[in-house]
Amino acid sequence: MKEVDVRGLSCPMPLMLAKKGIEGDPAEIMVHADSGTAKANVVAFLQDAGYTVTVEESGDEYRIKGSR
């Protein structure tokens, strides 16, 4: 599974890294985020790219998993 860490990064880095992460069409991708904005942007981005997205919250981290 492709893993991307966008924790602590300002806009638009989370989106840029998520976009890079789905290059090559991985079947599964995990994005680690820690702000509501990064979470919302990455979730919408992955959904628009055709992934089914689940978000798991643990501590201060959002683990955003996309699969298709």
Partner: protein, 365 residues
């Protein structure tokens, strides 16, 4: 790569958020706010600086505690707490962010408005805003060049919890002074623009401004509305959500201005604006370039700060201090046009921004 959906449900959500913010901003003018300035983050922060320091910084025309700012902070904080998104964080080059906020404010005061007001001015028929909006596009493009080269200011970390509460606490202090002002008992060392002396004296009633601010704060926090992110994301990552936000803002404010008879199309005699084409363009280019390096427009900085982001708080602090400096130094424009030192000032700001951009790119290269 598989085909991506270009316009998803979040785009419509942002369009609706922009529409609402634009409509509320236009309505606030009918309630007493200055022309085409129903909402302006730069101007309103500047007015707050004027209230506290205006006697020193020559801000007689622009001194008032704008309750909209208080509302936005408390609304965003409430929404963030409610959705468990309030997280004290910071430590990503706070000093540089202070400088970026300072420069953002200085250049915005040469244009006479922030990246939010640029759209609102256009929505009131002020065609001089077009030069500023072209500047926004130019600033985004310059920012993108550096982002593509790897620019970033580094990751934030979790910080001591009280640091995340600075702006919300400041908002409560402001509320105290706003109530005192409304009751006519503000301390002697503060300053309030006298009626007829400038835009600082034009305001909607305290409770209306406060309520409008609360609504805008909640909507902006939930939607992640950003006045520069739309153009940025469209060009950089081919995402159009945030662009729907600014289009909504423009449509909402235009429609309500037309309904309320506040729409005046033209280049001349626009409220709190000048028609120096190059000045407007250059000032907004610089302001937007600074905002690009901050990761969002001044409204976003306030929202993030209200979610516990101490770095955004230092950016907002830079804006407040920058406003005082810009008026004290005689760098701010007036309706008549640019000040005598506007161009040297803008040149210095651009050099500093390029140095920061170079630093932020080199560090990660």
């Amino acid at each position: 790569m598989a085909q991506r959906r270009t316009i998803g449900p979040t785009a419509w959500l942002l369009g609706g958020a922009g529409l609402l913010i634009g409509a509320v901003a236009a309505w606030l003018i009918s309630q007493g706010n200055p022309g085409n300035m129903g909402l302006c983050i730069a101007c309103f922060l500047r007015d707050i600086t004027g209230f506290f320091a205006g006697k020193v910084t020559n801000q007689g025309a622009v001194a008032y505690i704008r309750p909209e700012i208080i509302g936005i902070i408390l609304g965003a904080m409430g929404a963030a707490l409610f959705t468990r998104e309030f997280r004290p964080r910071g430590g990503s080059q706070p000093l540089i962010r202070f400088v970026l906020g300072f420069i953002f404010m200085s250049s915005a005061l040469v244009f006479l408005g922030c990246t939010v007001r640029a759209w609102l001015r256009l929505g009131g028929g002020d065609l001089t805003a077009i030069w500023g909006i072209l500047g926004i596009v130019a600033g985004v493009l310059i920012g993108i060049v550096f982002l593509k080269k790897g620019f970033n200011l580094g990751r934030t970390k979790t910080v001591a919890k009280p640091l995340g509460w600075i702006l919300p606490v400041f908002a409560l202090v402001l509320l105290g002074f706003a109530v005192m002002s409304a009751a006519g008992s503000a301390p002697d060392w503060t300053l309030l623009t006298a009626a007829g002396d400038g835009p600082g004296a034009l305001s909607a009633p305290l409770l209306i401004s406060l309520a409008a601010g609360l609504l805008i704060g909640i909507v902006a926090q939930r939607s992640r509305f950003c006045s520069i992110g739309g153009i940025r994301d469209a060009i950089l990552v081919r995402r159009y959500d945030l662009l729907f936000g600014v289009i909504g803002l423009l449509v909402g404010t235009t429609v309500v201005n037309l309904i309320l008879g506040q729409y005046h199309l033209g280049f001349i005699n626009q409220p709190v604006a000048h028609n120096d084409i190059l000045g407007n363009f250059a000032a907004m280019t610089i302001a937007t370039f600074a905002a690009m390096m901050l990761g969002g427009c001044p409204l976003r900085q306030i929202i993030m700060s209200s979610e516990g982001d101490a770095d955004s708080t230092t950016a907002v602090a830079g804006m407040l201090v920058g406003a005082g400096f810009t008026h004290w130094a005689g760098l701010a424009s007036s309706g008549k046009g640019l000040s005598a030192i506007a161009w040297p000032g803008l040149a210095v700001m651009m050099v500093v921004l390029l140095a920061i951009a170079w630093y932020g790119t080199r560090k990660t290269a």
